[in-house]
């Protein structure tokens, strides 16, 4: 099984979730993160103290899928999260050895 970690712009969450749902993916975990990359942050100003905020709000999606669903998932995310502007984010894919469903103790693909 594969773990897909996607960093996306926060306001794209609904689109991505909906697209994944339509694509048949019914499990997803989302964390709020801050990203640092090519996308510029912004300045903030507090009583004469002005400074550069390098970090930008992002969401990190974690999605574990069967091996054969990997490419489809990536495709869906790329399409739904894309705005064409810097800062759209990345997808990282890695291997998962085992999955367990806590409720039932099922393992492997059944646990997804």
């Amino acid at each position: 099984m594969k773990k897909i970690e996607a960093i996306i712009k926060p306001f794209k969450l609904e689109d991505v979730k909906t697209a994944l749902k339509e694509g048949g993916f019914f499990g997803l975990t989302v964390a709020e993160v801050k990203g640092f990359g090519k996308q510029m942050g912004h300045t903030e100003l507090y009583r004469g103290a002005e400074y550069q905020i390098d970090f930008v709000s992002k969401l990190m999606l974690t999605l574990v899928v069967d091996d054969d669903m990997r490419d489809k998932a990536i495709e869906i995310i790329v399409e739904a999260a894309n705005t064409g502007k810097i800062g759209d984010g990345k997808i990282f894919v890695s291997s998962v050895e085992e999955v367990v469903r806590i409720r039932t103790g099922e393992t492997g693909s059944q646990a997804l």
């Binding site: 306001f11 609904e14 912004h42 300045t43 903030e44 100003l45 507090y46 002005e50």
Partner: protein, 440 residues
């Protein structure tokens, strides 16, 4: 309304000059130098209470309802409006509203409070106190409109709009109703601002929402309030502050002030109850946002009626306000799909309209347990009074609608009204003010 009661209304200034009340005139001329410390104490207090309604009351009420990335922009709008309108009030708006002039607008004889000294009285309170009390109304009215264009208006456009609106809408209409203008002469009953404050703000909100267009994603994207505890905090402050708004409009610490406060409170309670019941009926559960919205509906609706109706009438007014404003909110949002972001029109506008009309009914002294304290002078039936009330609503509403539209078009010539789409996405706090609400 007899001459005794007549003194109990808002703008004594006006009564001296215009209403031709010989007894009060004499009092005004001969005994006007008798300052009442008790009445002054209460209006000083009321002034503080009404400012408190805007800062921080309304700012928090609205601020909690927007997204976390726009909260400061709302607070900033309320603060800036307060500062700028206050200075304008001194420079000329007070004079336009309350000095002698035509039936449509006052003159500039009191610009910069010309001629006002420590000893100048307005009725039996210092004129400085009357000036301040009225100023807090001039502040909150444009601040109410903020709710309509929240989360998308440019800061400089907002400021320019508010300034022009205060000059060309608020000041004249205030003169019509309270400054000796034609609606006052006609016998319109508007104790504390059903037309002057709520109809004008509500109609302006509707027009602004239509002209500005929807926030991106409306109505499909869920936009939950970012901090309902902030909204409820503001709501509590509004409730308390409204005691000064309506109770202070008696311009004295007397039975009218007490009764105005009482009916205000009862109507607010009625609004909470009926809005909550509507939610239970429609969704199965009452929400705290529903409760506080019903409260505002009850408060806005009783405002014009507050010095004229009794407790029974107030209870009905509050209950009706909650139901009508509930339906209005749903209709505007879900049927008409108008993005009046924080529902200013369906709550304040609709509340102001029905409240002004109901003031004409429940002021009648012949309704048993729902009786009020009498019609305007020269009026002796519910139908005549309601007719005057309807004229007041129509006139103020129409004028506000047209003038607001014109002002928006003028402002749009100078600066775009809306932020760019990217700025809207990033949020107004960063894009307009380079600040963030929270670093928790």
């Amino acid at each position: 309304m007899n001459s005794l009661n007549r003194n109990k209304m808002k703008s004594f200034t006006f009564f001296i000059g215009v209403v031709l009340a010989p007894t009060s005139l004499l009092a005004g001329e001969l005994g006007a130098s008798e300052l009442s410390t008790g009445n002054t104490a209460w209006i000083l207090t009321s002034t503080a209470l009404v400012l408190f309604m805007t800062l921080p009351g309304l700012a928090l009420f609205y601020g909690g309802l927007v997204g976390t990335k726009n909260v400061l922009s709302v607070l900033m709008q309320c603060f800036s409006i307060t500062a700028v309108i206050s200075v304008l009030w001194l420079i000329g708006l007070y004079s336009m509203a309350f000095s002698e002039g035509t039936a449509f607008v006052g003159g500039l004889s009191k610009a910069m409070l010309n001629g006002v000294t420590l000893d100048s009285l307005s009725g039996d309170i210092p004129e400085s106190v009357f000036f301040m009390f009225q100023m807090t109304f001039a502040i909150i009215t444009p601040a109410l409109i903020v709710g309509a264009f929240a989360e998308r208006m440019k800061f400089n456009a907002m400021l320019l709009f508010s300034i022009l609106w205060a000059i060309f809408v608020y000041a004249p209409i205030c003169h019509w109703v309270w400054g000796g203008g034609w609606l006052q002469q006609m016998g319109l009953l508007d104790f504390a601002g059903g037309t002057v404050v709520h109809v004008t703000a509500g109609i302006a909100a509707l027009v602004t929402a239509l002209v500005m267009g929807k926030r991106s994603g409306f109505p499909n994207v869920a936009r939950p309030p970012h901090n309902l505890t902030m909204t409820v905090t503001g709501a509590g402050m509004l409730w308390v502050g409204w005691f000064g708004f309506n109770g202070g409009s008696a311009l004295g610490a007397n039975g009218t002030a007490g009764m105005a406060m009482l009916v205000t409170h009862i109507s607010a309670s009625g609004g909470v109850i009926s809005w909550s019941l509507m939610e239970v009926k429609k969704y199965g559960k009452p929400s705290v946002l529903g409760a506080v919205t019903g409260m505002v509906a009850g408060l806005g609706t009783i405002t014009p009626a507050s010095g004229f109706v009794g407790p029974g009438g107030a209870l009905l007014i509050g209950l009706i306000a909650g139901v009508v404003c509930f339906y209005a909110t749903n209709y505007i949002k879900n049927v008409l799909h108008i993005d009046d972001s924080l529902d200013v029109f369906p709550v304040h506008g609709v509340g102001g309209i029905i409240g002004t009309l109901m003031a004409g009914i429940f002021c009648s002294p012949a309704l048993g347990v729902f009786s009020g304290f009498g019609f305007a002078q020269g009026i002796d039936s519910i139908s005549s009074q309601v007719y005057v009330q309807a004229v007041g609503v129509l006139a103020t509403g129409t004028y506000t609608g047209v003038a607001t539209f014109a002002i928006l078009k003028v402002v749009a010539l100078i600066t775009p009204l809306r932020v760019s789409e990217d700025e809207e996405t990033e949020g107004l706090d960063i894009s307009q003010h380079e600040e963030r609400g929270y670093y928790l």
